[in-house]
């Protein structure tokens, strides 16, 4: 198939961490023998004018058999209006949360979804939210996670270092609940906590056994997981939990929010689900997860159903069905 990949997030020279899950699925589809053209934005900067550029790239792309767009609005809407080929949309989380929260997003999303042959939600939690907010998605939405590359995130032996070592991978924003995680960690009185990421809360985190690395290229994440015992993501909401899947693949137990997608793949043997609003629940989670052992083969087993190649096969089937439906 000739696939046109459309996304407002894609890794670029200035933002190598942007939309890595989109790029990895693109590679997996190419590995399956498909020709993938790209109409993407690979930087955060640029404001709304970036979307004019995205529209230009969508319109200039060679006619595909199917358009595979990531994020319902604006990328999905631009793809819906700019290319006449069958359309498959992927909802990632914030795009669904914006429906009803930001004026105009609801009607724009409904239009894009109406135009789509199929919609992919990265978790069942997200599918339910999408179908509740956008009735047009009912009956055409399937759940396929972004997947984790089990070769790039292999089962890792524990590297030397202090224990217990907790790591949190992600942006340092209120949604990631990093301040509450830091406070919960401090109540343990033991171990280290490393934040691998950057964001507006950075200055309020470092000190007392807590380290902040700043933004790290996606390829280097396993290097930060090797000396870790537990990876923590007690976010206020996590539509899927990509960093959790990657940690599990490396055999690291996790402390995960119970709000969103993580309950769909974090088994009791692989990690602990916590109430993100309850500091004591997070602290208990840290203690319990540290006792699960490193590396934890059950964590790896929890990640395996989300193997990128399996997910790419499912996406391929959805894209093929959309493309063939138009013939």
């Amino acid at each position: 198939m000739r696939i046109l990949l459309v996304s407002q997030m894609y890794p670029g020279p200035d933002d190598p961490d942007l939309g890595v899950f989109v790029a990895q699925m693109e590679r997996a589809l190419a590995d399956l023998g498909h020709h993938v053209d790209r109409a993407v934005l690979d930087r955060r900067a640029g404001g709304k004018r970036r979307y004019l550029e995205l529209a230009r790239r969508v319109r200039a792309a060679p006619r595909p058999d199917v358009v595979y767009a990531h994020f319902l609005v604006p990328a999905g809407l631009i793809a819906a209006l700019g290319q006449r080929a069958p359309l498959v949309l992927t909802a990632h989380g914030r795009d669904v949360r914006n429906v009803g929260a930001i004026p105009g997003v609801g009607p724009a999303t409904r239009l894009a979804v109406r135009r789509a042959s199929s919609v992919v939600a990265v978790s069942d939690y997200l599918r339910r939210e999408l179908e509740a907010k956008v009735p047009e998605a009912r009956g055409k939405t399937e759940v396929v996670s972004s997947g984790v590359d089990l070769e790039r995130f292999p089962l890792l032996a524990r590297a030397d270092g202090p224990a217990p070592a907790f790591v949190c991978v992600g942006s340092l924003t209120p949604r990631k609940n990093v301040l509450r995680l830091a406070r919960a960690f401090r109540t343990l009185g033991d171990g280290t906590l490393t934040f691998v990421g950057d964001g507006p809360l950075r200055e309020r985190l470092a000190g007392d056994g807590i380290r902040v690395t700043g933004r790290v290229p996606h390829d280097e994440i396993p290097r930060y997981l090797a000396p870790a015992d537990v990876v923590c993501q007690p976010s206020l909401i996590e539509p899927l939990g990509q960093a959790l899947l990657e940690a599990l693949a490396c055999g690291r137990s996790v402390v995960a929010t119970r709000i969103g997608g993580p309950p769909e793949f974090v088994t009791p043997e692989a990690g602990v689900l916590v109430d993100p609003l309850d500091e004591a629940s997070i602290a208990d989670g840290l203690r319990l997860a540290a006792e699960l052992g490193t590396p934890n083969p059950e964590a790896r087993a929890a990640a395996e159903p989300h193997d990128l190649r399996l997910q790419a096969g499912r996406i391929e089937a959805i894209l093929r069905r959309a493309a063939e439906g138009a013939r």
Partner: protein, 121 residues
């Protein structure tokens, strides 16, 4: 160059539509109105070749605005943007004086051709 006025109260949709139309060198977006009343005022101010008019808008709907624009200028070209191709919507658009209609989920396939075809009449 065909000059187009977009009349649609959904800002994100109108911006995305403008971005798509801006990629075609034969078309220029001359303005964007958020309701029917503003569409009439902008029509008089910018004198577009074509008005892309949503039917459902606040203050004054697109059908009423189309009728008033055609009273002001019987040669005005109006393409209605409809949510569906329901017979009732199509009939109402024609009675309001629209030169044609495009359903919103057929924009990628039909809109630019429709604009150029109506402009050439």
């Amino acid at each position: 160059m065909v000059r187009v006025l977009i009349a649609d109260d959904h800002r994100l949709f109108a911006e995305a539509l403008e971005a798509i139309l801006a990629t075609d060198k034969r078309i220029e977006v001359a303005g964007h109105a958020r309701d029917g009343s503003e569409a009439i005022a902008l029509f008089e101010a910018v004198k577009p070749d074509i008005v892309l008019m949503d039917i459902a808008m606040p203050v004054m709907d697109g059908l009423e605005a189309a009728r008033k624009i055609r009273e002001l200028d019987p040669t005005a070209c109006i393409l209605m943007l409809t949510g569906s191709n329901a017979r009732e919507d199509v009939d109402r658009a024609r009675r309001a004086g629209a030169a044609g209609y495009v359903t919103k989920d057929r924009i990628a396939a039909e809109l630019i051709d429709a604009i150029l075809e109506v402009a050439a009449r």
